[in-house]
């Protein structure tokens, strides 16, 4: 897929949950072709401690309005600075990056989309893409507490939504892997994005039940283009770049001890 460097204009920046934002960014022309699970590298301006670009998943691609959405958790200097962006500001992005989820063989299959924390971000675009193909995706999203579950309504509009919270304030209490839906229903494929322990727990469930499972990794990146070799993960075939061979990997290709 051809990559571009685009100066987007911020069309809105909305506070989400406790500590996150939803940035809607308008392209000056037509949006490039993108796949769910791909990401952008954003350039954070006027933040002296943020030297490198920041990788952020594409939360949603609104081709009608030529907008992409980024759902961002403010964890450090760079993401906090992005939180200060105002409508009309410019944000320079390299887009689209990475391989994306493999949706080639999911037609008429039961798919489960699992997201934890800000890892729900790519699941919206994935779900919307599956819905557009006539499927009904099932989402299983985990958050620490009710107020930290992001984009709940959008997920409800896109598919069937199940939720776990660690304090039981919404949905079932516990982690996503404790949810009863995993006992009640059978899924043919699982896509996961979230904190590594959560992804490993879901991967273990998938492996034990012989379900095809893809996870989206969040390694530290410098170039995002497969040039610097900083972002590698261990795979069955040695080191691979998370930015180009990933961020999405089939769990069978990784060397996770699960």
């Amino acid at each position: 897929m051809k990559k571009y460097i685009i100066d987007f204009k911020v069309s809105s920046n909305k506070a989400m949950g406790n500590n996150a934002i939803l940035l809607k960014l308008r392209a000056p022309g037509q949006l490039p072709e993108m796949k769910p699970g791909q990401f952008v590298e954003v350039k954070v301006e006027n933040e002296p401690n943020t030297f490198l670009r920041r990788p952020i998943s594409i939360n949603y691609a609104d081709y009608k309005n030529n907008e992409i959405w980024l759902l961002i958790q403010k964890v450090g200097n760079g993401t906090r600075k992005l939180g200060e962006l105002q409508t009309g500001d410019t944000l320079n992005c390299v887009i689209p990056l990475g391989n994306g989820f493999d949706t080639s063989a999911v037609k008429d299959k039961k798919v489960l989309l699992v997201g934890g924390g800000v890892g729900v971000a790519p699941m919206l675009m994935l779900g919307a893409t599956l819905k557009a193909e006539g499927m009904t995706p099932t989402f299983l999203l985990g958050a620490r507490t009710q107020s930290m579950l992001l984009e709940q309504e959008l997920f409800e509009q896109t598919g069937k939504l199940y939720v776990t919270t660690e304090d039981g304030s919404l949905g079932e209490k516990g982690f996503v892997t404790n949810h009863s839906i995993l006992e009640k229903e059978h899924f043919d494929k699982i896509f996961v994005c979230g904190p590594t322990p959560m992804m490993k727990a879901v991967a273990k469930y998938a492996k034990n039940n012989n379900i095809c499972c893809e996870v989206s990794l969040e390694n530290k990146m410098a170039c995002g283009l497969g040039a610097c070799l900083c972002c590698v993960t261990e795979t069955q075939e040695g080191h691979k770049c998370v930015c180009t061979d990933g961020p999405v990997f089939n769990i069978n290709d990784l060397t996770w001890q699960i």
Binding site: K43, A222, C223, C228, L229, V232
Partner: protein, 303 residues
């Protein structure tokens, strides 16, 4: 438009902007953003005789205005390069230069010999920052006798342009440059990364798997500039300057300090189209100051 042509020994560059090894992949990774034939030279990822997996993750820590990396020369080996990568590069209308690394003198010479057979590759850049495994693991580039030995050995088997890339982690870089020149180098390039370290205080752990790593980016520029200045005064062969170049002004400063050409490294990560912008920026500077050729600013610093 001014004449941007510059020379490194027998090597002619259409403009002085090259890419620093390890920061531009094999060039193809950037083909969506820049016309590769508008770059003066593409120095590809460090290549060793045998395939190397590199260091474990994490390999990267961001630091103020820079970054520390510990990639550890991950590459597929020279045979893979010759068979699979070279065919994709050979028709790009620019100088493709292979950065050659090794852990013994035999490694270096075997790798250089193999590259010597490639018609469209007119130069190698010898990365002598690697540890000499056979002699206690000290970097080849840190002692004059070792530099003479490795450069001399490669010189015997490689008959095109030989650029020797110097490590800044030495007491007197001018002495090292002279040793490389004496052993037959056609040019020296500098600087490679500065040895650095980054710690996560909360976790009381190093931020990269190897504890120490190579510092690069804007923060190293003043050190790099000083070293290029010192080396350019000490040797007669052309000097290639790099280290923290982020824009055309930085590039021009290196040339004023004595560099005949420059390399762009970490800046490629921040703006994948920076190389051609810098070439254009140099041209604008020359026009603005009434210089006809980029050669007019090489070493033109008025002290």
């Amino acid at each position: 438009m001014a004449d941007l042509t510059t020379h490194i020994g027998n090597l002619t560059l259409k403009n002085p902007v090259m890419t620093a090894s390890g920061t531009f992949g094999f060039g193809l990774e950037f083909a969506d953003f820049v016309k590769l034939d508008e770059i003066g030279g593409i120095i590809v990822k460090g290549t060793t005789l045998h395939k190397r997996e590199g260091n474990p993750y994490p390999r990267l820590a961001e630091t103020p205005m820079g970054m520390i990396n510990a990639v550890g020369l991950q590459n597929k080996g020279v045979d893979y390069f010759v068979e699979h990568t070279y065919p994709q590069l050979k028709d790009i209308d620019t100088q493709i230069i292979v950065n050659v690394a090794g852990h013994s003198i035999d490694d270096y010479t075997a790798c250089a010999e193999r590259i010597n057979t490639l018609e469209k590759i007119n130069a190698i850049e010898l990365n002598i920052s690697c540890p000499n495994v056979k002699e206690g693991g000290m970097s080849f580039g840190t002692s004059c006798p070792m530099v003479e030995k490795v450069v001399g050995a490669v010189r015997k088997v490689y008959n095109k342009t030989l650029i020797v890339k110097l490590t800044p982690n030495v007491t007197d870089i001018a002495e090292i440059a002279k040793a490389a020149e004496h052993a037959g180098a056609d040019s020296v390039s500098l600087i490679n990364t500065l040895m650095g370290m980054a710690i996560d205080a909360e976790k009381r752990k190093p931020l990269i798997s190897t504890v120490t790593g190579g510092l690069s980016g804007a923060c190293v520029k003043p050190v790099a500039l000083r070293m290029v200045w010192q080396v350019a005064k000490a040797v007669k062969i052309p000097v290639v300057g790099l280290g923290g170049i982020m824009n055309a002004t930085d590039a021009i400063e290196f040339m004023l300090a004595g560099a005949s050409a420059i390399e762009i490294g970490t800046a490629n990560f921040i703006d994948p189209a920076i190389t051609v912008k810098i070439a254009k920026g140099i041209d604008e500077y020359l026009e603005r100051h009434g210089f006809k050729s980029v050669k007019d600013i090489i070493g033109a610093l008025e002290v």
